[in-house]
Amino acid sequence: MNRGDVPLVDARAMSRRFGELQALDHVDLCIRRGEMVGYVGPNGSGKTTTLRAMLGLVSLDSGELRLFGRDVRTGMAEIGPRLGVVFDQHALHAELTVRETLELYARLYEIKGDRRRRTDEVLALMGLGERADSRAKTLSKGLRQRLAFGRAIIHAPDLLVLDEPFDGIDTETLRHLRELLRRLVAEGTSVFLTSHDLHEVDQLASRVIILDRGRVVAEGTPAELKRGVAAGGGVFVVFQQAVTLAELHDALGIRAGEDLAAERPHVPLSTSRDAIELSPGGLQATIRLPQGLPADKIALRLLAAGLRVRQFQPIESTLEDAYFARLHESMSDPTAEASTEEVQ
């Protein structure tokens, strides 16, 4: 096995309990070179505990966690210099200037060669050149996040660990950071990204792991996760004449208690009448599709019922749809321990 085959992060059955709360419950995690892994879940699901365990800041009750082939418990001296971390709330040194912060970490990471030049490069890369002599405490939230990113990449780490990096930052910074991450990944850096911003995760991550109550409930590429939720997610329909909800229910055969996606004539589409959202004027409707039912069946049924359709547009399901579907499944799982407490 050559170095490229060794996972950068290899975790097996990680478990950690804080009092009554099972923060991590047999979590497996593998990150390979050049991957950007999105790690998502509700508050208290164990994201931060996982991240802190990877950084050696939280010890595990059981399981194994290796970074770059080394055990986190004993190998942080070798692991640390290959890691770049962006903590939530920036975690900056308030009284140091932007340049001093970068120079400090250039020295701590023992960057070889001209540290001053490397600092200037990162200042330029992060768009912080004009604020190089400003103290961290005087920076706006967006600039602080740029500085936190600059500090994390100053030593060109193999793995970037990002904790809620897009939380509350301005659009310009968001765009800048998104492009930076794409470039770093293209250059071979791996990224482990925890976030509540599912839109960003959908755009950036090559693989997504959904965590709930300390357990991995789904894992796959964004496309795979979305595919598993619903065929097309739903359709958006504009009618030529106003329709009523009752007409739509009749047309689609919705009757409570019947099967969702059976392939019979006049098959009920959903047991839930919430599957249809009709605009107040009755001219527009959003119809959520049950799993496995193609959107064109909806169109056929509407036309067969004599409803005149002006526009018919399938709605793509999003990572958010997939996320909530998986969480819903997880919530229905009686074997999972119920707890939504925040893990700090």
């Binding site: 950084l55 920036h90 308030a94 970490y105 701590l108």
Partner: protein, 231 residues
């Protein structure tokens, strides 16, 4: 533990402490002189004169831990609460390296405060026309023995911050206890003679305390240094 990284961290601590509250230096010097003056008998008896001259020897034990407590409170507790401690614990160095830098940063600054306080105390004596100068033989104690002993007291505070984790209350209590406890200690010690073995023992004890703390931090999981709640 690497010297280049340690110096970088000490520089960071000194820079941040000065910027966050440079006025604390002269303020501590003034408070130290006022506390000693308030505790010193104001008569002109020989016993009082002796005590006044001996207090200068022990002044580092009051000024240094008191000023260091304010520095450590910001450098450890405030930095923990704001998250600034976390990146210092993951760059690959030992948590003990980070703690040592904080202790030495506080020590260097508090040594400066001690010199300011000493100048103030001697100036006060000269202004009143009293002989508060310590004997020449005691000067090494003022400049070396007592500051090294004070280092142990600074390490003790750092140990307290390390053990207790996140606590805003601690940041308030420690300086108060050090200030009022320190002045009692200094006046008490001012009545005692200093022998060479006592001085050596004080310095060795201080350094042993520092070493023990660093060993504990190095071997204990980083949760403790980070101040992360462990349930």
């Amino acid at each position: 533990m690497k010297a280049s990284r340690l110096f970088a961290l000490i520089g960071k601590e000194i820079r941040e402490a000065l910027r966050a509250g440079w006025a604390n230096l002269p303020a501590t010097a003034v408070v130290t002189v006022l506390l000693l003056v308030a505790k010193t008998p104001h008569d002109s008896s020989a016993a009082a004169a002796l005590l006044q001259s001996r207090l200068a020897i022990f002044l580092p034990l009051l000024a240094m831990p008191f000023y260091a407590s304010t520095v450590l409170s910001r450098a450890i507790q405030t930095e923990r609460l704001r998250g600034g401690l976390l990146p210092l614990l993951v760059y690959g160095g030992s948590a003990a390296e980070v703690w040592l830098a904080k202790i030495l940063g506080a020590f260097v600054l508090s040594y400066g405060v001690m010199l300011l306080s000493l100048s103030g105390y001697l100036g006060y004596g000269a202004w009143l026309g009293r002989e508060v100068l310590p004997p020449w033989a005691a000067v090494p104690h003022v400049l070396i023995t007592m500051p090294v002993a004070a280092l142990g007291l600074i390490a003790l505070q750092a140990a307290l911050f390390w053990m207790i984790g996140r606590s805003s209350l601690l940041s308030v209590i420690v300086p108060i206890v050090v200030m009022f406890g320190g002045v009692q200690l200094v006046v008490l010690l001012g009545l005692q003679p200093i022998s060479l073995p006592t001085a050596a023992l004080a310095m060795l004890g201080s350094l042993a305390l520092l070493a023990a703390l660093l060993l504990a931090i190095h071997h204990y999981p980083r949760d403790r240094a980070a101040g992360i709640a462990t349930g």
